[in-house]
């Protein structure tokens, strides 16, 4: 026994960096929606950055520690109480057997990551701890369930440097690498796409984010079904962009104008329904430099 779940928030999922090498069978990658916050959470615990965490998308999660350990909290800025004492997130905290841990309301951002020193003791399924409900993989946290971990009697806690704390606002610029069927979009269509704001609709989940705004059209109605990458921007027949995220289906037949740089998809994961985004072109070389820097910083 390690964590007892006194109250479970809706859709609290076990995640890690994702399930890979089964996409050719239609199995989605899944994984952390916001890798920046998730990797930071593991960094604060000196865990492997890809290790498992709880991804919490709704308030009022209440846990009881049944062993000593160190915990870390990142992602959405939220109320955090340890034994009813208010604590900060984006840092680690030592907890003792019997301590109560409660996540209250979210102030900004949509997903909180909760990690434990050395990770939760669970069984990997096909190389990953990630939960994909539609495929029946992983674990959803339920009331009165137990989440196991090793006891750890730590002496130090860490805090994420304030210069590197994210700010979760209501407006976000997404950098786009033109790709796939971009040549089937006219210059006028591209101008509309890059010069207008789009609103995040309620069709926003771990699979995709559907936007509302200026309609754009491709010169073709569809493509022969082909594999879709993380961040791809599909333009269905209604002309409203859909950004594909961690649990996207593996193949699809809509024309795609390009792909959002993954780092910006992580930021999108913290946005609210009703928030706005705009698109800005980035060259493949610049985009790759940014992503390389992102991963090397975390791996160092």
């Amino acid at each position: 026994m390690s964590f007892k779940v006194l109250n479970s928030a809706f859709l609290t999922l076990i995640q890690d960096s994702g399930r890979f090498s089964y996409s050719h069978l239609g199995v989605t990658n899944s994984g952390f929606m916001d890798e920046y916050a998730a990797f930071a959470c593991n960094k604060l615990l000196d865990n492997d950055i890809k290790g498992n965490l709880l991804e919490i998308s709704f308030p009022n999660l209440h846990l009881e520690a049944t062993k000593d350990t160190t915990l870390a909290f990142t992602g959405a800025f939220c109320e955090l109480f340890i034994n009813d004492e208010q604590k900060n997130t984006w840092c680690s905290h030592q907890v003792k057997k019997g301590d109560s841990i409660r996540i209250g309301s979210f102030k900004s951002g949509q997903r909180v990551y909760l990690g434990v020193k050395n990770g939760f003791i669970l069984k990997k399924e096909f190389g990953s701890f990630s939960t994909t409900l539609k495929e029946g993989f992983g674990k959803i946290l339920e009331k009165n369930s137990i989440l196991d971990f090793e006891e750890f009697k730590g002496t130090k806690t860490k805090k994420w440097h304030k210069n590197y704390l994210p700010q979760y606002g209501n407006d976000l610029t997404l950098r786009v690498i033109l790709s796939y069927q971009e040549d089937t979009f006219s210059n006028e269509a591209k101008e509309l796409f890059f010069n207008n704001k789009y609103k995040i609709t309620s069709d926003f989940n771990r699979m995709a984010c559907k936007l509302d705004g200026k309609e754009i059209k491709s010169n073709i109605n569809g493509v022969i079904s082909e594999a879709i990458s993380y961040g791809s921007i599909q333009i269905p027949n209604d002309g409203k962009p859909i950004i594909l995220l961690k649990e996207a289906q593996t193949i699809g037949g809509y024309p795609k104008i390009g792909s959002v740089l993954s780092i910006d998809c992580f930021k999108l994961a913290q946005m609210k329904i009703g928030g706005t985004v705009n698109f800005k072109e980035i060259s493949i070389n610049q985009a790759q430099e940014k992503l390389k820097k992102f991963y090397s910083t975390f791996l160092s």
Partner: protein
């Protein structure tokens, strides 16, 4: 062959612009070759009708090195013949009891239900791609006679194991799912099976044949009629 950017860390190789067995064989040959390299820096290799997407490790390759690598590697690939590959026989109970659209397919073709069953089960199908759902294999092509358009409005729930036709393609629903294909029968054969080490008995290189079985045989295999 054309290599295009897909995203910051993936490229897509196109082998043609229409669906054909020849182009599909090219895809399969290159896919088999790329898999045989066992390159850990290829995070995903996803084949489809006319293309293969490769997601690569951004710390090992960039767009120019991956393009050069692929161009060099793929220069000398010969088209393999996949018809000698593993053939999987899928026992199928064809009946209006479980095949909600069997009558519709027969009416559309202006032939009897028995003929639909005979035509559908006499061909060996190639897998063109797998996706939409885990283990959902797009098989083609059905005989011209039984080509049937999708339903006007998709069903909210199609039972697992349903054998279906959409246009010239056929498939088996690996789990309960919404869908707009014409359902002609049902099987207990598992297209997505977590007890298997590689999750599915089917891959892009396998071939499928449907074998008509009686209601008794279907029930004996664990098949269910009600839904």
């Amino acid at each position: 062959m054309k290599i295009k950017i897909a995203s910051v860390d993936s490229v897509i190789i196109y082998f043609g612009e229409f669906i054909s067995k020849d182009i599909s064989n090219k895809v399969k040959s290159v896919y088999s070759y790329l898999k045989s390299l066992e390159n850990d820096s290829f995070i995903e290799i996803i084949p489809s009708y006319t293309s293969i997407l490769i997601k690569y490790d951004i710390l090992k390759y960039d767009i120019s090195s991956i393009t050069i690598f692929l161009k060099n590697e793929l220069k000398n690939i010969k088209n393999e013949d996949f018809s000698s590959n593993k053939l999987i026989v899928v026992d199928t109970f064809y009946s209006t009891e479980v095949g909600f659209d069997l009558q519709r397919v027969a009416l559309n073709a202006n032939i009897s239900i028995e003929e639909v069953i005979k035509i559908h089960s006499s061909k060996i199908y190639d897998v063109f791609t797998i996706g939409f759902l885990p283990g959902f294999a797009y098989l083609a092509s059905v005989d011209d006679k039984i080509i049937t358009p999708r339903l006007n409005s998709p069903r909210k729930k199609i039972p697992k194991g349903s054998v279906a036709i959409a246009d010239s393609q056929t498939a088996v629903y690996p789990c309960d799912s919404p869908g707009g294909w014409n359902i002609i029968g049902r099987t207990t054969f598992e297209f997505f099976d977590k007890s298997l080490e590689n999750l599915s008995p089917v891959c892009i290189n396998t071939q499928i044949k449907f074998n008509p079985i009686s209601k008794e045989e279907y029930i004996a295999q664990g098949g269910k009629i009600e839904f």
